[in-house]
């Protein structure tokens, strides 16, 4: 029972960045609540899958695919391009910390000389960042690949 409450709370915290970054990208005002819902949904789904012992990349991929499919329905109903919904929703999953750590270890390798610890941190963080990014992008692309088969625009 306690687990579900924390999950819900975390999802609500994840909805705030989705709205905030949606505002940076100037999402139309009517789409903001849906962005919040999407952000909360993807984060909660990923946490749930992580809880069920899936790997980080796989659960990110499944969550991104889900929001991609949902985005197709939403964009049909409200006549908007899909990125308006999907991109702010996946913002809470973007591997920003990994990317920064990779770059910082790169800079420090330049100033302090190459050591094993720095090199392994560079490679590890870089691999994490790229693979998570790849998972997100592939998840978002899957629905539109299905629809390009039909030679017909989505909206």
């Amino acid at each position: 029972m306690m687990v579900w409450v924390t999950l819900l709370l975390d999802a609500m915290w994840a909805a705030i960045p989705a709205v905030g970054f949606g505002m940076i990208f100037n999402v139309p005002r009517s789409a903001l609540p849906l962005c919040a819902l999407g952000g909360a949904l993807t984060y909660a789904l990923r946490e749930l899958l992580l809880h069920g012992n899936f790997s980080l990349v796989l659960s990110t991929f499944i969550a991104a695919t889900t929001i991609g499919i949902i985005g197709v329905f939403w964009s049909r109903r409200y006549v908007m391009p899909r990125p308006v919904y999907t991109v702010p929703s996946i913002i809470p999953m973007i591997p920003g910390t990994y990317a920064y750590e990779m770059m910082i270890s790169l800079v420090r390798m330049n100033t302090e000389g190459v050591t094993d610890a720095l090199l392994s941190s560079f490679i590890e963080n870089g691999l994490h960042a790229v693979s998570i990014l790849f998972a997100i992008a592939f998840g978002l692309v899957l629905p539109s690949m299905y629809y390009t088969k039909r030679k017909q625009p989505i909206i």
């Binding site: 100037n26 973007i94 800079v107």
Partner: protein, 236 residues
């Protein structure tokens, strides 16, 4: 047809050709490189080629949305070029006021820090740092500095404020505060767009955007490293 406000390439291509057909052209061919659009219009037998240079603009999905709406309206009553031109004139940026934007960005970065397990003092410091960073970013991009410099300087300010957490051991989770207060600078949309473009067959656009996003990340980490070097902090 300057559709470079952060839309993905496939959308740009589809929209232009649909708009062209709706306005009575026979066919439209388009070629994209990261900084320009080449567009050939075929009307009957005559063909017209135009090249437009795309300036670097802040990401604005609401403009993309308005263009898509206009395209659908043009498809519903074709050959009405007056209406399309009027709609193009009516597209406006419609930005959110900064007194809403700054606190909500602070709050979202603070939410990131909370999700990664910072304590409440760390939460407050992250809020302060991210809001300050957002203020700096808005002011600098208002004055038309290059995006790279804006990012580096914002990261510098963010890290300076966030390192308050180490002062007098104010918060027990200083490293989390430090890393999540610069998250407002992650170029998420360029990364995602580049991946999407590459997957859909626009390899050169994908690479161009990937390089741009990597440069932005590099510049902001330079800002972080500079601030950490000034304060003598070690590591994350």
């Amino acid at each position: 047809m300057l559709l470079e406000y952060g839309a993905e390439s496939r959308l740009i291509e589809q929209i232009s050709s649909r708009l062209g057909v709706a306005l009575g052209c026979t066919s439209i061919q388009i070629s994209l490189i990261p900084s320009a659009i080449v567009l050939t219009t075929l009307i009957g037998d005559a063909s017209v080629t135009t090249t437009r240079r795309a300036q670097e603009q802040p990401i604005n999905l609401s403009i993309v949305h308005q263009i898509v709406t206009m395209c659908i309206a043009a498809e519903q009553n074709p050959r009405n070029i007056m209406m399309v031109e009027q709609a193009l004139c009516n597209i406006h940026a419609n930005p959110y006021p900064s007194w809403v934007l700054i606190p909500i960005i602070g709050l979202s970065c603070a939410a990131f820090s909370h999700l990664q397990g910072a304590d409440w003092i760390g939460f407050g410091i992250t809020f302060l740092a991210a809001s300050g960073g957002m203020l700096v970013r808005k002011e600098l991009s208002h004055r038309n500095y290059s995006l790279l410099i804006v990012f580096a300087f914002t990261a510098f300010v963010c890290t300076l404020i966030a390192s308050l957490a180490f002062y007098d051991n104010l918060s027990h989770s200083g490293h989390i505060v430090l890393s999540s207060s610069v998250l407002l600078l992650v170029p998420g949309l360029p990364y995602i767009n580049s991946m999407l473009d590459a997957f859909k067959g626009y390899i050169s656009m994908g690479w161009g955007r990937w390089t741009q996003a990597t440069l932005l990340t590099l510049m902001s980490s330079l800002g972080i490293v500079l601030a950490m070097g000034l304060l003598g902090l070690k590591g994350w």
